[in-house]
Subunit: 507 residues, 3 copies
């Protein structure tokens, strides 16, 4: 979802240390490595949840097991993470096949996942939920991607699905909130128009957000779906929307009536509601699709949904809303975004992600109440606003490290980048210390050179004087010459100065 | 309307190629030329709608006709475009006359037209509509301009009417939406206050928008009129507003009842609604005033109004609203702004302008529904937001060229600027190729110089050696000297180095 | 309230003249001086409202009086202004005592006052109003400050109370608008959560506002209190809010019924309403606390409240609202902010502050009407928006000087800074003129040096020619050598060039 919405401006924002890191061949090397195939790289590149004991290579049985694991990891690497190898292979394929890849990645990018397999599983989940919605989602993603191609947007961003994820949400949610029921084919017209507007709005917002090195998140989707819904409204002949009205009486909350099973079920439902789906199985499938690409993302998604549920209970929300996952989906996205996606995951960042999820839940309730005045749903405005707020935060601690937008990938890789950077900093420090001692050496050398120069100068003086004397004895007007040189005031011996100039040139 | 709302910041945004273009005397020359008087300039400076065949100067009859046309064009040039000659002449006149010029230009700047004659015709149209409204509009423009003078804003911007156009809209619309009827003289008090606030809000918004090299459009007007209307509201003793309420039932739309004549009439009415006028004749007068200054602007205005009408039909708007021009006026402005005003007109930009008009119509409906919750009209918010979105768009194609804000004029002149720039780029390319061959020449020359130097060096060595030998025979300690020089390590023969330094100086 | 919310970005915005001023030791010196202890500094450092006649030091009685006054002023300086001496002393105290200092400064920073004594008096006023509110305010300030410490925000900003003032407002207003009545202890939970969110929102907003060198004002408070109120709403079981509804009928305004006494009382009530207090005595106490720190601030606060009252009458507001101070508190803050706090006080700025107060009153009515649609109070949104608008204003006059954010203090000190800057500019001008005459001298000297060089060159030529001749007579191939040198084309005599290079080095 993030990453490439960067115009030229953001390059100014990227710190020098970053650019230093970029240019180092080591980083480039790891960039090209698939996720799990890192068994022969230093430990920071490994996935933490895979315990490995390959430190004893003497036993032949262990060696065999090790080889098997290596093969397994290599196999896993091909369809986890961002499937870079697959993406590279795709580049040489037929354009329609490529487009399919982009659409699938776009579907997964809603959850910040750049993985066509996850996208495929997500589409499966959508089909399980509702055929018509899935179709609308597909049409939305497709036309958003096509529109980005027409507008000649960044090809890398298109290939990462960064122009598709708003399209799928626009398509899905326009179908979800349409009051005409399923299979109302006319709906595809505004769906296609709004999907094709996505890249324009994305590009415009990126121009603004890039000034602070921020991603656009799902803001284009929020803007365009709200635009469509409020432009037509509930009382429209062609494209009526479901009726949403502000709360005007106390909700009936009796703690005795609470259904704990449904409460627990609300966690996967919350994940499903990111795509507007209330089927817990669909939510479960989405969780699996997240796990395939990035376990950290998956964990934060579940955590976020749970935080949303708890917040709903704390703020006296009607149980129905909580069961329906309305308190969860924004927190899911916010928790993923902060917890490892745009910040490098440390435990401070983990706490920050949980705080952000709580804040997001609060904000979700507020925005839902405000939007209902206009007959609108909250969409993912709460997620966007809370995540942007937390990304704008500046702190004095180095434990909360915001990745430059151009370097954002999936949490595991971000972590690798962060560690790399820290290592380089350490190396630089060490080097600096070395440099300092070297500088001392150099200073000594310089002094020696100066001494030599001084010596040379004296010799030159002697030489000149002698020559002058010898020439004077030859009856030439050398006195005038020496006088002229001395009048310059800034140089006494011109031969010496010549040498100084050239030394300065070489330094 | 745009142009001079630029603080120092925007200069950073202007690309080097632009500044290169500015400094070239050729551009400056065309800047000073009135619009139509370009019969002896290269074809890119001609108006496309005037076909000319002056390539056959041998026939005396043709020559006569040609002279007549040239004179006609020269005459036209005096009151079309931005009337630069008239503006220059005005600078030497009495301040009150100047102020009148600024007010008239301000009235026309609502439509991005910097032309006092258009402004005069627009005032005629307003008087045709309603005396009281016209008076309020005049007062608004006048006090907005005076306030800008007091606040010592940019004199060029004031003279172009860039501080007046928000004033006329504030004055007009406050009168239009007042519930006290015409000739309620107390209304002039808030009118004057709000008009005088225009330059402050304009300046503040320009500080923000200039970061993205964007104009402020009619945002100050939108802010201030909404401010006044919502601050007083419908239930106010002194300044009540007309009652605007959100739609709460299905509109009655029977296609059999549609009035095609009124539907076509809605196109000029839509142009008139930019100034809040529902009289089709007033709209027609406005179209004429646009044609005088810039035919491209005029064409896009009509096109935008038509797009708005079609959008209204597509989104099931009540026919009454469409007839009343409420779907047109924002699209008119958006279509003008994108179609040649802030982008150089190419056919891609033309398509973009139509897309923007459709988007603006959608947005117009949405904003009207939202604003009605607060008892407010949509004003020109939809135009501002859609045009700003489309101006923030960044694409990979050079066919969509956004003019730097400081270079924005009227579409025909913008086109000339764009062509000039392209030509210069081509010239630069050609020059670069020349330079490359020249560089090869230079490289050969440099090699020759180096060879000469090498030769000279050898000679100097010989010379020095010989002199040293001769001097050694004179019993001097030359060995030490030569040794000292060689200890330097970076230079072997000091005479040679001397030459190198000076050569570097000359390079 | 402002000052330190500046990230690295703002340093770019600060003009060179400023940085020049910063580096001057004189400024640093005055920065360390307490407010009133300036009796031995140049007159621009004195408080204008204290007339002093210490120009006659010959009379012994006068001298005695003078000493007494000096002592008095020194004494006053210890608890007026920003109490820098006390702040410095505090730095060495126990952390809890420091925290208390920060909390008290935070309480006063709502009114832009960085003074713990004012804060103490303000808390006294709050206790007079309502114990429960005062407690909530204290808890809010405390936890906001603690949260800022946890997030490792700028220590100087924390010590100035810049992370506390939003906290006190959040705490107070959440208590004021709670529908559960006083001593509903559960309210402390959301109070603490929202207070702890203050530094996060502050930091995020500062990241944005610092691009335009703007402070965040009370925007975090506005955002967070509105967030809490709209998230829970009137119909909530745990945290219900008071019911606020939009006006739906004409208010009963009979001028005969007006109560002039209450109208005058509305001025201090307006000051009190900044903290949500409707007790006129509390308002009076707040005015005193302002006077202690900065008389200019105090005067503008009273002026702003009066302007708000007048605006309310002009816009036909219900008398009850005016008496209740609802028209005053935003104008109080806006008038303080513009009148001497962020602009250096001149009479033009004074007029601007009054204009801003009128604009703020208008805006206040508008925002109150809009917010009431969502059941929200206006909070201090009108103040924030109007003050930000007026701070974004750019004018051509030097009489309206916006202080760089990092240099903002209290009005009296700002004025001193402004005068210092003007003086330095004058000095620079004078210096420049001196420099110009000195440059002329230098030019003459340079000419002399050039003449000497020319002379020297001729001598060298002679010398070389002679030597060449002498050496030629010795049968050496000197011709070739001279030829080689002359082929270089850019230098005729190499010794001379050598000298030129070194001269350039010294220039």
């Amino acid at each position: 979802m993030p990453g490439s919405h960067c115009t030229k401006d953001i390059h100014k924002n990227i710190s020098c240390s970053t650019s230093a890191a970029c240019s180092s061949p080591a980083t480039t090397f790891t960039e090209l490595q698939p996720l799990m195939a890192s068994h022969d790289l230093p430990p920071e590149h490994d996935n933490s949840q895979l315990d490995r004991k390959e430190k004893d290579p003497e036993r032949p049985g262990a060696r065999c097991l090790q080889t098997a694991r290596a093969r397994f990891l290599k196999g896993v690497s091909y369809f986890s993470g961002d499937m870079k190898v697959f993406g590279k292979w795709m580049e040489k394929q037929f354009i329609l096949l490529q487009l399919l890849d982009w659409v699938l990645r776009g579907a997964a990018q809603v959850m910040f996942v750049n993985n066509p397999l996850s996208g495929l599983i997500i589409f499966a989940g959508l089909i399980l939920q509702n055929y018509w919605w899935a179709l609308n989602g597909f049409v939305g993603t497709l036309f958003a991607t096509i529109s980005a191609l027409i507008l000649q947007q960044n090809r890398g961003a298109i290939a990462a699905g960064l122009y598709g994820y708003n399209g799928i949400l626009v398509g899905l949610l326009m179908a979800v909130f349409s009051n005409k029921g399923d299979w109302y084919w006319w709906l595809l017209l505004p769906n296609i128009f709004m999907s094709m507007m996505c890249p324009i709005v994305s590009s415009a917002l990126a121009s603004i957000n890039s000034r602070w090195d921020l991603p656009v998140f799902t803001l284009p989707f929020n803007i365009l779906v709200c635009l469509h819904m409020v432009a037509t409204g509930h009382f429209n002949h062609y494209f009526p929307q479901v009726l949403i009205q502000p709360r005007s009486e106390l909700a009936n909350i009796t703690w005795a009536e609470i259904d704990v099973a449904q409460l627990f079920m609300s966690v996967p439902v919350g994940v499903g509601q990111v795509y507007g789906c209330d089927n817990p199985w669909t939510g479960g499938i989405f969780i699996i699709s997240l796990f395939i690409s990035s376990p950290i993302t998956c964990a934060h998604a579940v955590l976020g949904s749970a935080v949303g549920m708890v917040s709903g209970l704390a703020l006296a929300a009607p149980f129905g809303d909580i069961y329906f996952g309305l308190w969860g989906y924004n927190c899911v996205l916010a928790c993923i975004a902060i917890g490892g996606m745009f910040y490098a995951l440390t435990w401070q960042v983990h706490l920050l992600a949980i705080t952000c999820a709580f804040f997001c839940a609060y904000l979700g309730s507020a925005i839902a109440n405000i939007m209902s005045t206009f007959g609108l749903p909250a969409c993912t405005w709460p997620f966007c606003l809370s995540a942007l707020t937390f990304l704008l935060l500046t702190t004095g601690t180095s434990k909360i490290f915001k990745l430059p937008l151009a370097k954002v990938n999936y949490p595991e890789k971000n972590l690798g980048y962060f560690w790399k950077l820290k290592k380089q900093e350490k190396l630089k420090k060490a080097e600096k210390e070395n440099n300092e001692s070297e500088e001392q050496k150099k200073a000594i050398e310089n002094e020696m050179i100066l001494n030599e120069k001084e010596q040379l100068r004296l010799e030159l003086e002697q030489f000149d004087e002698k020559r002058a004397a010898s020439e004077a004895s030859e009856g030439k007007n050398d006195e005038t010459y020496v006088e002229g040189v001395e009048q310059q005031g800034t140089e006494e011996i011109r031969h010496d100065d010549l040498i100084e100039v050239t030394v300065a040139d070489n330094a």
